[in-house]
């Protein structure tokens, strides 16, 4: 069985489980709606203040949703005693990481689309005009978040206080991604061309490459035991 096929099987399995059970998707969707309220109430009725904060709030929303969604990446395997099955898979274990990463990216992208739409509607922000470059920033940021998130999720699934440890480990590492994506998003929403944020995009691309590479190289060590 080829490497790509093994990764694909993991992705397909997770998507199938999600489609049948729908627990994750519904809860996360509702969580996004709640975030909308949370941010509005935290910042007060001033429309301009909210509009100015949108880039940060958008990514804050992604990260909060990401912490919930990513942290549970391997919970299914853990709770259903499938961890051994993962461990005993023949061949390169990093295929599992890739499959899980792809699944998480799909999940995160769904959340992002929902949040972007909700923000556009409820906060009266024009997210349609810069849609294409914004999508690029979203994609790069998502990969960065999911790459480290998937790796750490595999680790913390087996540790005490996992709900606390996962964010504590993930958030400091994600600071560069957050800074880059928020800065780039802010520039794009102000109407600046993509060329102006090229350095941020390069940083994100570089960081993504580093994170995914480390994930691929070290996942087998996380999977043991």
């Amino acid at each position: 069985m080829t490497y790509a096929r093994r990764a694909w099987i993991i992705l397909w399995k997770d998507l199938l489980i999600e489609r049948r059970a729908k627990e994750h998707a519904n809860a996360l969707l509702f969580f996004c709606v709640l975030l909308l309220f949370l941010f509005q109430f935290a910042l007060g009725p001033d429309r301009d203040r909210l509009a100015a904060a949108v880039p940060g709030l958008l990514w804050l929303g992604f990260i909060l949703a990401g912490l919930l969604g990513l942290g549970r990446s391997f919970l299914g395997e853990r709770e259903n005693d499938c961890w051994e099955g993962l461990r005993l898979t023949p061949g390169d274990k990093s295929a599992i990481y890739l499959g899980k990463l792809a699944g998480n990216c799909v999940l995160m992208t769904a959340v992002e689309i929902i949040l972007v739409v909700l923000f556009g509607v409820f906060y009266d922000v024009d997210l349609w005009t810069p849609a294409a470059p914004l999508a690029l920033v979203l994609a790069l940021g998502t990969i960065g978040l999911a790459a480290v998130g998937t790796l750490f999720a595999a680790m913390t699934t087996q540790v005490r206080a996992r709900e606390l440890l996962f964010p504590v480990l993930l958030l400091p590492v994600q600071v560069p991604v957050l800074l880059a994506t928020v800065s780039a998003t802010q520039a794009l929403l102000l109407g600046q061309p993509l060329a102006d944020v090229a350095h941020w995009l390069k940083l994100l691309a570089g960081a993504d490459l580093v994170y995914v590479t480390i994930g691929l190289l070290t996942f087998e060590f996380v999977l043991e035991g």
């Binding site: 590492v173 800074l179 941020w200 940083l203 570089g206 960081a207």
Partner: protein, 213 residues
């Protein structure tokens, strides 16, 4: 051996204090507050040294599975957090009379704060896993991610800062030009490195003893 290192460290620290307070001149613009730099800069350099060693220990452990590498990573991580904390506190105290506030989101302080959080998380992870083998493995992965992330954090924070505020002409980031200041800085840096080596040696010994119980 560690004893000798300990005494050498004391010597170094005394020399460092003498250099910082006696030999180095009063800085023209900031006054005596600038002397905190002899504490602040060696602290951050030592912290970086520590985290490089965490990286080495982490890679070494995953490559060889020998516990010695993990002991290195654990010890270096703990001491690194200590010196990072010192860097932040000294930087903050330096900032108050210089810039008027206890905290500014300038590039170095922000990066250092992020560094601090990363490695506190590292220590937290270690404290939550009892099985030594799993602990070493997981810590190694986090140690590698954390260390490799340092330059990425550095650049992102630097560019982020450039967006929001022009870099201050004065302030701790400016490199010293006066050779006397440079020498005092060097002496203190050597002293701190010796102190780090001494702490590392003792902390690794403790880890080794703990494994035997």
């Amino acid at each position: 051996m560690t004893r000798a290192l300990g005494w050498l460290t004391v010597l170094g620290l005394v020399a460092g204090l003498a250099a910082g307070f006696g030999y180095a001149p009063r800085e023209a613009v900031q006054g005596n507050v600038q002397r905190i730099m002899y504490l602040h800069v060696p602290s951050v350099l030592t912290a970086y040294l520590a985290f490089v060693l965490v990286l080495l220990g982490s890679i070494g452990y995953l490559a060889t599975r020998r516990a010695g590498w993990d002991r290195l990573a654990a010890a270096a991580g703990e001491i690194g957090v200590l010196f990072t904390g010192l860097t932040i506190v000294s930087g903050s105290i330096w900032g108050k009379p210089t810039w008027g506030t206890w905290w500014t989101w300038d590039a170095r302080l922000t990066s250092t704060a992020v560094l601090f959080c990363v490695y506190v998380g590292y220590l937290l992870l270690r404290s939550l896993i009892e099985d030594p083998e799993a602990r070493a493995r997981y810590a190694a992965v986090v140690g590698i991610v954390g260390a490799v992330n340092i330059p990425i954090v550095h650049f992102s924070v630097k560019w982020w800062r450039a967006l929001h505020q022009p870099s201050t002409i004065l302030g701790p980031e400016r490199s010293p030009i006066d050779p006397a200041i440079g020498l005092a800085l060097f002496v203190n840096w050597v002293a701190f490195t010796l102190l780090f080596a001494y702490f590392l040696s003792r902390r690794m010994e403790i880890a080794r003893l703990e494994e035997q119980t």
